[in-house]
């Protein structure tokens, strides 16, 4: 399967990087054709500019992010790996969505319409792997914004039968080493399945 892994954490020695490494190992183990995008390492600029806004009704991405859009159109499985901050994806990843998931890449918007039409029919598997500093209870109260963004909003423009997988660690702020190791094992197990 053609798989794109998009990962995002500013620190090279962070737990998110360890999680992404384990995910890549698992996907490679099952023989996937892999592309990996590390947004921080590549110096991705998450700022959606005035120039992009001015042409946002035109089809296609800004030339500056054309390679990222090509990867998105190429993959059958999309795996997002990130820490949950303020109950959602970090600004770095939100900016990747804002700038890359544009008209003609991710959706189409017919004239006189306010409902987008899906254009990412190539994506049949959507996987999110994330860590939450706070507990599952607190995240439930806050409304699991990041989870909804993936399993509803992004899912809505993928293949109509696309399956979503949510792999989340809660209470990461107070997690022990053995809990972290257990989560890494869970990531590998789930992705190998």
């Amino acid at each position: 399967m053609r798989t794109l892994v998009v990962t995002c954490h500013p620190l090279r020695d962070s737990f998110t990087v360890a999680v992404a490494d384990r995910a890549v190992t698992a996907l490679r183990g099952r023989g996937d054709d892999l592309r990996v995008t590390d947004l921080y390492a590549e110096g991705f600029d998450p700022l959606f500019t005035a120039r992009e806004r001015a042409r946002h009704l035109d089809p296609g991405p800004d030339p500056a992010v054309a390679g990222y859009a090509a990867d998105l159109k190429w993959c059958e499985r999309l795996v997002l790996v990130y820490p949950t901050w303020w109950s959602g994806q970090p600004a770095m990843m939100k900016g990747w969505i804002d700038r890359v998931w544009v008209r003609d890449v991710a959706f189409d918007l017919p004239p006189e319409s306010n409902r987008v039409q899906a254009r990412l029919h190539n994506v049949r598997r959507l996987v999110a792997i994330t860590t939450h500093g706070s507990s599952k209870f607190v995240n439930a109260v806050e409304g699991e914004v990041g989870k909804r963004t993936v399993t509803r909003t992004l899912r809505a423009v993928c293949h109509p039968l696309a399956r979503t997988t949510w792999i989340a660690m809660y209470g990461a702020d107070t997690a022990t080493d053995s809990q972290r190791r257990a989560f890494l094992d869970r990531v590998e197990r789930k992705l190998r399945r």
Binding site: Y40, P46, S87, A91, K94, V138, V145, T153
Partner: protein
Amino acid sequence: MDVLVVRAHPQQGSYTHAVGDAAVRGFETAGHHVTLLDLYASGFAPAMSAAERAAYYGEQPLIDPQTAEHAALVQRAEVLVFVYPTWWSGPPAILKGWLERVMVPGVAFRFDAKGRVRPALTNVRRIVGVSTYGSPWTYVKLLQDGGRRMLTRALRLNCGLRTPTTWLGLYSIDTLGDTERAAFLDRVEHTMARLEPVRA
């Protein structure tokens, strides 16, 4: 009251700019002291840097003079107002990044002895959101409004659970005419002019 309006839209002259201006007018009519923070105009960088992440749990997480300046405005504010277009069920990356880089430990919350998050925004007595949506209201409710939840739940938990919130949304904006857009600006201005912080 001391009001901080945070606005996020890349284009000068955009409808979101007009919405922010209407909100400021409303508060000024009612005699409040308003500070307008336009994130794009101030050249705010959305992404938390490696140095900032490394300093996040330390003594001084605000290592950028600009985030320190914005944090001082937040700590003085009695009303926080967010004006932005909703993209992919959430705020633009620049506003998401502002929450990450400015609402840090010591400003928005603190950790107790057991490492749990405790509120620190006790100066804030009301949270207000004004957003535009490409989608109709029904579709926003179906997908759920991530930006609204982030501000009225996650952020509000750090102000105190009883902090009142006000939300104004303009839906299906791509297919609305000038009359509806103008009417919404009036609604924003009048609503802001009437707002009172309920909690004493």
